[in-house]
Structures are given as structure tokens and as C-alpha cells.
Assembly symmetry: C2
Homo-oligomer: 528 residues x 2
């Protein structure tokens, strides 16, 4: 894998936020990247010193506790093929049961080969994304069963709304990848849903996308669709990760069959596994945040080690998804102080292992009110300061993931862009220090009309999508619109301006033929 | 002042967030502080490594540019008495004008005597607050001309609303001080307004409060009211800072008469000056954030140096209030990415000088919508990570400070409490790592009923004031309340439960007599 990583990184520029060029290697992506401002938010780099909540001794204690869990208790590995691979690598498989225990040295040996950084390849090379290091990649919401906008209310997912959300993901550069189905389109039969949805991902966007690990054939279909979309050989696909899958453990301490199968299919072909336990403190994990993160870490390390057993050097991401529950109702809570701590400590662990870190932009609000904003903003605070690399559910998530909201998507895009602007290095050139402008204006003057201001005012500051800065009187005359009102208007305007990204007609034809053939074959069995 | 600082710190415990005791000195405050949970948010300590956006060279460049402004351009010092003091200390006063220039060594020599940390004394010693270091002190909104709640709409400030807001400040421990008049009660004549308002501050709260610097007599009245409230001698007052004043420069590069007079009256008596330029980039300061912060720094250093000319060692706070304007309309913008950068760089400068740092929880929203929340949350992010010590306008600020909102007050209190919980050290004891609970539950189980969970679930997580975590159906049955609805209900419930803090009847009598006497004398002249 180290060869793959190196060659991947050598083929594109590393851009900082705001388009400032850090490094030019003159590879094939360089010319396209010079095209300018449209790609302002395409390559985000987070140069902040990462916040650490734990000192090295405490981090060690969590690490060792996780390894003790894997060594003493073990995990239930619910696929015979996976247990066979694990046994071949030295894990202790209990015959006649799913239980597998892992020596701590085995785990550490395996995860050592996971790459620190790698690139993911989109069908449009300008949309390639880099995982790990200081890179920050935002993925759209995934996997909501419901969808909502103000006029249509909350409803079950369907293909029309699925497509609208995918189109919106294409409209904003700060959304770097889709994240899965933003909403589950249940009006498409489950046997062929992945064929329609994934071919939409190729056609409606030119960004990296995700495949669900719900049985081997879906993984294989997804890899073939991604390969066709990129117009490359399977050999090239296998050395250029182009597709990712989220693998959730069934916490506590279980990995089920389709998830393990997904790791086998994806890792063996050099595609990206995002290994993410979902460890709600007080429900599927201990009620203490430290205990829940220990369990998260044990499950993540197990899955990551398994990717390396399948293929040394396979690209893998350390996923954290620890939050707390509302202890009055048992409902999941998100964007809480506890969530912030779990996100930051998860980042410390991922950096300790040298593996890219996935976390999420979360909230549990039922509508686009202040709660939706503060829970998301607190999530963004923690994941930015905590060094998240790959941010799932960046835009559109509400109700703890139950509903994809069109209005929340716009709110999130605005907040993501603000985070990106915050991460832009502050210009401290002599010109920016502005001594001459201060000399010109002097005590008691004003800066509105100075040459220094006039030369910069149009682009000096981030221009938000939603913030309504009109004075109270003007705002009142306009009918006192709230952020929700603005977001409702803007998602419709944006959808109306959507343009399909160009695609080679031969590729589209090959894609349609593949989907038609697979549909004719009946798609996949849906009885697992 | 170093003696004052030392004695102040030795007289109370230093508490961390959550009431954990860090240091016990057994002073006179110790017994009271042991009384427990009611004071959970009273003493906040921010142990995060502070985020730095500038490397030492860039910080030096800003520092030097500020000193160049003071040396070459100078400031307009609009009070003869102040110019005389400055001249006596070696500043270059231009006869026949307000202009004063300061050698960089003079500035650095003066600010060197400002204390790094000091304590402020409330009439209830449990409400004393520590300024500087890692301490984090939240002050309520100050100085709004308007007040709003949902039923009453937006209206000019008045005594009734003033008192309600002051009572709310008393209700929450996370509000450590009031910040000035939360709303300006214009139904009280300006000649006696300060007498009524400050005596309300003493009676309705037991926390530290602020006096406006609007002429010498108001400062003197405020100091006397604070002295009476504490029941101490003037000598003790002068060694125990009990009152603060916000000093704003009239940017660019002017300090007007009442502000300079305020520094003279307050610093000479050992009371706290919070020296805060208001430098909107593109209006009263250069359009670049770096330039605006350079100017902020020049003005702040000038005012801070003057406090030390008045009295070496006088307690002073470095205030930053740099934000950008909306370049389309010229309206001030807050809680923006630019504001975040200015807050963090301001913190770097204040720490460079070893002076406590004041910043603010800002937003420019017109109502309690998502914008109000995200702008405030981004402000809290920056001021927490950036090391703010004294946070003005922590609760209740809307419309860029034009309106004190009852509902926003509750929203802010909730967010402040979340910040406080985030800053609580994560428990990583063996018990918190929860290996035994994981052993007990094992793969595939659940943690709801374990002893580990049952022993902790009631207090495991922060219980928010506003977040509505009911599922969509239950929330719908409840009428789909938003954060605004909850905040509206809660501020009224909280006001109904308000209790006046106990006060010695002799002190109240002395206070009433003083106010009556001063009113009989006509209060203060209002013709300046």
C-alpha cells in the first residue's frame, strides 16, 4: 500500500484552503487545479494544533484497556470465512462459536500496515480527495429513512428526493463526497436499488461515493459501477481507491456477516473501509464516555486489523461514533459536551495509530431551530479542533440521522464554509498589517473610502448564505424571515440551477448497459 | 499591585469546573465553597491548550506594528488631565492639540506592571471571580438600548425589564457577573439612573458588577455603592477590586474625556479597567483582520499603559472587540470566521503581555433562529479555544448588541453550561474505563441495566435546558415546539422562581440612605 499512497499523492497538488498552493508536483491534476475560484473549498487543510483532552498516560490507559478487551473478552465474528482468515493470522478462534480473541501484539502488528494517508479517486480528478494528515473531507448525510422540507413535511425516502439531495451535494464544492444514500429510496425495490442509486451517483455527481456492505454482490456491483464511471481498468481501480464503505460493528463487540463480507470484498480490492463502531454511552456501551470510547477503540481496532489481514496496506479509516443517550428517555443525544469529548479523544487515538479519522456533524433536533444549529456547531467545533479527517453526515442530518432535511443541508453547507474560512491562514503580510492605511486615516477618521479598503472590500470577508444582517426595521419590512425561511428558499433556487457534470457518452452507455444487464439478472437476493 | 494580587488569591479556594477542588488554602472563603453542587458552574477553569493562529514571528510583527502606530501616529487623548499624566511619564504631548505619541519602551515599561491575575470581590465571597490565567468568567449582556421577548416584542429599555434581566443573571451560577445595564432603562432620568441601577445590582444580585464611565461623579457613586454593598472600608476596597468599568476607545486612535476620566477614577482606587477598542474591520479599522487587530492592539496598549501611569499595578484587562462589517450594507457582522480569527489572535496578544483577556459572545441575528445559535456557538468556540478570560455579553445579546432578548438569555445560558461541561476534565479512572462493565455485558448485550450504568445514569451527562430530544411523533403531539418556544417558557418560569439573595439589613439601610442623599443632591449633571 505504501506504493499506492505515494503514487496517489504525487499525482495532484496539495492545496490549502482558499486555493493557495502549498506544493506543486506538476502531475496530471495540476493544470485543472489552476482553474481557480470555483474550487475554493475543494481541498481543505486543517493546520490547527489539534486539541488533546488526555495526556499520554491517560491515552495509554485507554489504548491498553481496549487491547485487554480484545485479548480477554474478544469479539463475536459472525462469518465463518472471516474467522478462518483471523485464525490463519494467529487469532484465537473458539470452535463452535463466533467468539474470537486477539493477542494485543497481533492487533498492533496488523494495524501498523494501514496507510497514514491516501488519496481517493473520483471520476473527475479535480474531485479527488485526500484522507488523513491535516486533510479535511466533508461527506453529505447518509442513510436517513425519512426526508423533509417545509412544504412537503416529513416523509419516507423516495427516488425523487434521493436525486434532489444528490444534486445538491454536487452543487457545493465544500461537499467533497456523497456519503451513501442521503435518504433511502424505498420506492425502488431493494434487489436493484443499489444499481439505480449508484448509477445516479456517477451521473449526477462527479465526486467520490460510497457503497453499502449488504452482501458480497452489492459490493461487487458497486466496484464495477465506480470502475466504469472512472473509465479505468480493474487493475487501476485496485491501486487507486475510488469507493468507500462504512462498516459498523453491532456494538457491543460484534461484527455481523454482511459487514465482514464488505471488509473482505473492499479491502481485497484496495477500496476504502471506514470502520465505525456506534457506541452510545449508556446503551450499547458503558455509561462513562471513557468506557464507551475504550469499547469503540476495541471494536475499531478489531475491524481495522481485519482489513490488514485481508490485504496488507489496504486503505482504512478509523471511525468514531460515540455519544450519550438522554438518560430520561434512552433517546440518542448528539452535539453534546459528551459528544465533543468523545470526538476529540477519538482523534487522539486515531493519530496515535496513524490512521485517518472519521467522525460526524451531528444533532438531534426535530426542526431547523436554534438546537439544530448549536448541536451541529458544537460538533463542528470538536471535529475541527480534534482533527477529524473524514466527516460523515456533514450536511443535511437532523433527528439523530432519522431525517434528511433540505433546509438543514443548506444550513450545514453555510457552517462548513465558515469552518473552511476559519481554517484559511490569516494574512499577516505588511500590506495586511495596514500601517499605511492607519497612517492615512489617522485618529478619528474612517476607513470606508480608503484605497486599502476599496481594493479589498468585495472579497475581504466570507459572505454567508443564510445570515440575515439587515437591521431590524428592514428585516421587519421583509416579513421577519428566519434562517429556516432563507434555507427553504435557497435549496430550491440551488436545485433549479443544478447542472449535470459532463460525462463521456461512452462511459454513460457502458454504465447503462451494466445496470440493465444486472437488472435483467434480477439484481441481488434480498433474503439475507 | 503584586501584593494585592497575592493576598486576593490566598483568600479563596481555586475550584475547577464541576466543583473538584484543586487547591485549598483554608482562607476565609473555604468553608462557604464546600457547600457544594449549587456552585457547580461558579468557578470555571479552561485547561485546554490555547489555539494559536499566528507563529511567534507573525505575532511579533503585529506587536511591533502596534507600537509603531503609537510611536509615529499617536492617539488623540481628549482630556487635559490625562495628557498631563502621560507627559509626566515621558509621552510626547503635542501642545495645542490632543495628539500624544508614545515611545515603544514607555508602553512596554508601563504594561509590565499590570497584574497577570487578580481576584474580583463580590458582596457574597462565594461569588468572587478570578481574572486571568486559565480562569473563565461569564458576564451577562450589557448596554442594549432595546429589550425583547416574544409576547412583548421589541421595545425601548425600561426599569422593569432591566430588573427582570438582572434577576435572571442572579438565577444561574454560570453567569458570574452582570456586565453593565443589560438594557438601558430610559424611563429613569439619566441624572439618577446610575443610582437606581447600581443599588439594584447590589440588592437583586450578590455578584460583581460594572459601572459606566460617564463622568467622574458616576464612578465615585458606583465605588461607594459597591463599598457599601460589601460592607468594607474604602481602604479595603482599594486593595480588593470590586467593580469594573469597560473603557472603549473611539476608534480609530482616540480616547475621549469620560473614558480617560474613568481610567483615572477607577485605576487610582484599585478598581478594574477593561480596556476595549471596538475595531470593526472596514469601518473604524482597516479592512484586513490583521490590520484591525494591529489597531485594536495599539489602542488597548495605550489605555492599559495609562492605567499603570495612574497607578502602578492597577488591575486591568486587555479587551478585544474586532469583527468585520457586511461589505454590502456596512452593518456590523458577528460570530463570523473573521471574528473567530480576531478573537484568537487577540488572545495570543493578551497572553504575550500577560494580561487577562476580555472578549465577547456575539451574534447579529434579529430573532432566536439558527443564525442566533450558530453565530454565538462560533463565538464561544473561538473564545474558549482562544483563551478568553472575561466574556462580556455572554447571555442575552442579539442584533449585534442592540437588543437584550429574554429568550436568547436562556439559550446562551444553556450553551455556556455546555462549554463548562466540555471543559470538565474527562474521568479516565479505572472505574470510568469500565472494563468490568464490558466484561459483564459481553458481545451482543446491552448496558442499560448494569450496575455500572445504574450507579451513574442520573448524573452521567449534562442535562440541557432547551434541547428537545423527544422523538418526532411525541414532539409533534406536543405541538412541535422550537428552541424559541422552550426558551420563552423557561425564562418566565425562572423569573417566577427568583429569590433575592440575603443581605444584611444594615447594609441595605445604608445603601438606601446613600441613594436618597445623592438623589436629593440631584444626582449627576447630564449636560456633558
Amino acid at each position: 500500500m505504501s506504493d499506492i499512497t505515494t503514487s496517489a499523492l504525487s499525482e495532484t497538488d496539495t492545496l490549502s484552503v482558499g486555493g493557495e498552493r502549498r506544493r506543486r508536483t506538476g502531475g496530471r491534476g495540476a493544470e485543472r487545479i489552476r482553474t481557480g475560484a470555483a474550487g475554493k473549498y475543494r481541498n481543505l487543510v486543517n493546520r490547527l494544533a489539534k486539541t488533546e483532552l488526555l495526556d499520554p498516560a491517560a491515552l495509554d490507559a485507554m489504548h491498553e484497556a481496549s487491547l485487554t478487551i480484545l485479548e480477554e473478552i474478544g469479539m463475536d465474528i459472525m462469518l465463518p470465512e472471516a474467522r478462518t482468515i483471523m485464525k490463519a493470522h494467529g487469532a484465537e478462534v473458539t470452535e463452535g462459536s463466533d467468539r474470537v480473541r486477539f493477542d494485543r501484539n497481533l492487533i498492533m502488528d496488523m494495524i501498523a500496515s494501514a496507510p497514514r494517508e491516501f488519496q481517493m479517486f473520483a471520476r473527475n480528478p479535480e474531485r479527488n480527495v485526500k484522507m488523513g494528515g491535516n486533510n479535511l473531507v466533508f461527506a453529505q448525510i447518509a442513510s436517513a429513512p425519512f426526508v423533509a422540507d417545509r412544504e412537503g413535511g416529513r416523509r419516507a425516502g423516495n427516488q425523487e428526493d434521493f436525486r434532489k439531495l444528490v444534486k445538491l451535494a454536487q452543487c457545493y464544492d465544500v461537499i467533497h463526497t456523497t456519503g451513501g444514500y442521503p435518504v433511502e429510496p424505498i420506492d425502488i425495490h431493494a434487489s436493484v436499488r443499489h444499481l439505480d442509486c449508484l448509477s445516479d451517483m456517477v451521473k449526477l455527481t462527479d465526486k467520490v461515493f460510497h457503497c453499502y456492505s449488504l452482501g458480497k454482490q452489492r459490493n461487487l456491483d458497486a466496484i464495477e459501477i465506480a470502475r466504469i464511471g472512472r473509465g479505468v481498468s480493474m487493475e487501476q481501480m485496485e491501486s487507486e481507491p475510488s469507493l468507500f464503505t462504512i462498516i459498523n460493528s453491532s456494538s457491543p463487540l460484534r461484527l455481523d456477516g454482511p459487514m465482514l463480507q464488505g471488509i473482505i470484498e473492499m479491502s481485497s480490492r484496495g477500496q476504502v473501509v471506514v470502520m465505525t463502531p456506534f457506541t452510545l454511552a449508556g446503551a450499547m456501551a458503558p455509561v462513562t464516555i471513557a468506557g464507551a470510547v475504550v469499547q469503540q477503540n476495541a471494536e475499531a481496532l478489531c475491524g481495522i486489523a481485519f482489513t490488514q489481514m485481508v490485504k496488507r496496506g489496504a486503505p482504512v479509516v478509523y471511525g468514531g461514533f460515540t455519544s450519550n443517550v438522554d438518560m430520561k428517555t434512552g433517546a440518542p443525544a448528539f452535539g453534546t459536551p459528551e459528544y465533543m469529548k468523545a470526538v476529540i479523544v477519538g482523534g487522539q487515538l486515531a493519530r496515535r495509530y496513524g490512521i485517518p479519522y472519521r467522525t460526524s456533524n451531528t444533532n438531534a433536533a426535530n426542526t431547523l431551530d436554534a438546537q439544530a444549529a448549536y448541536e451541529s456547531a458544537f460538533s463542528l467545533w470538536a471535529l475541527t479542533q480534534g482533527g477529524g479527517n473524514f466527516i460523515m453526515h456533514s450536511a443535511g442530518w437532523t433527528e439523530g440521522g432519522l431525517t434528511a432535511s433540505f433546509e438543514k443541508f443548506i444550513l450545514d453547507v453555510d457552517m462548513l464554509q465558515m469552518v473552511a474560512e476559519f481554517l484559511t491562514p490569516l494574512d499577516v503580510s505588511q500590506d495586511a498589517l495596514a500601517l499605511d492605511a492607519v497612517r492615512e486615516v489617522g485618529p478619528g477618521g474612517h476607513f470606508f473610502g480608503t484605497a486599502h479598503t476599496l481594493a479589498r472590500y468585495e472579497s475581504a470577508f466570507y459572505s454567508p448564505i443564510l445570515s440575515d444582517w439587515r437591521n431590524f426595521e428592514t428585516w421587519t419590512e421583509a416579513g421577519r424571515p428566519t434562517t429556516y425561511d432563507h434555507a427553504n428558499r435557497i435549496f430550491k433556487e440551488k436545485l433549479a440551477s443544478y447542472e449535470r457534470p459532463p460525462i463521456d457518452p461512452a462511459i454513460e452507455e457502458e454504465l447503462d448497459a451494466f445496470v440493465a444487464k444486472r437488472k435483467a439478472e434480477g439484481g441481488v437476493a434480498t433474503d439475507f
